[in-house]
Symmetry: C2
Subunit: 148 residues, 2 copies
DNA sequence: GATTTTTAATTGCATTTTGCAAGTATTTGT
DNA sequence: ACAAATACTTGCAAAATGCAATTAAAAATC
């Protein structure tokens, strides 16, 4: 069995680098974490703060501040839930949506480039493998207990 | 083509979580980044500072301070190179070596647990796929230009 | 052989990120 | 009605980050 730790570690670092390039959209600068937050809000239906913090495994207090920063940048809106007034629903603003989409397009572009170094068959195998790995991690007790 | 960005993103986050658990060895607490540094020093032969900073894509000034912190914890030693006095060779101390090995064992344990949710065939495919992905990223211009 | 340029590493800021402890407000359970 | 749990915020204080500037040594140029 090969050294999986190393493999995953360098893969992470490299993907992180690709990811980092993606965070400047005409004048609007956001951090890597913030791009992940935008992505998750975009993907879900009016999620709560806790929900996103859990998914991204960010401490809730840090998350609270990150959201404040995104609100100041007018990319995110917080709306108090009517059913449960403790909860705030997160929404992307129009600009936020544009930024999220823009980053996503960029990232897919980058990923396409990365995958262009593979054969069609390899490409499929790799994607399927990532799914399998991801699912296995989700099942693991080592991480991901709160993370779906 | 599936959403690769999402797949990689959540895989990264999950691996990062596993990775984070690994950094406390009987009283000695180190950060995730520091565990990566120990790993890379262990792996290479008396590397220079620049070398490791490049591999891990850490800014050299940040790296310099991280090394200082690891030296203070007596996990790492810096020895001025004789051939080129600008360069400092990085060495693990005896304790440093123990810590690095301990983290590595722990991580492999965790990884084994994660991979236990797969069939033998899947396991092989996943590992091979990660290799392919890694190589493709290395070839990419998007990241990894200084990173091998 | 002297001088310029490049390279390896450190230090000084100033900013950002982080997370624990403690707090408020609301809801749920008893 | 009251206790416990939940969602979120704020106050620190520590850690991490990165740019600009510096030192020291090596390599390149003249």
């Amino acid at each position: 069995m090969e050294n999986i730790r190393e493999l995953l570690q360098t893969t992470m670092i490299r993907f992180g680098l690709v990811d980092k390039n993606c965070c400047s959209i005409n004048g609007i600068d956001i951090s890597l974490v913030q791009s992940h937050i935008l992505y998750e809000i975009d993907k879900r239906h009016h999620p709560s703060m806790q929900e996103i913090a859990d998914v991204l495994a960010i401490d809730i207090t840090t998350f609270s501040r990150q959201i404040q920063s995104l609100i100041k940048k007018e990319l995110v809106e917080k709306r108090q839930s009517i059913q449960d007034k403790r909860v705030y629903e997160l929404h992307l603003t129009t600009i936020g949506k544009v930024v999220a989409t823009s980053i996503n397009t960029q990232m897919n572009e980058y990923m396409k480039e990365v995958f262009s170094h593979m054969s069609e068959e390899e490409k499929e195998t790799v994607i399927r493998s990532l799914s399998i790995l991801n699912d296995s991690m989700a099942k693991s007790t080592m991480c991901c207990n709160p993370i779906r």
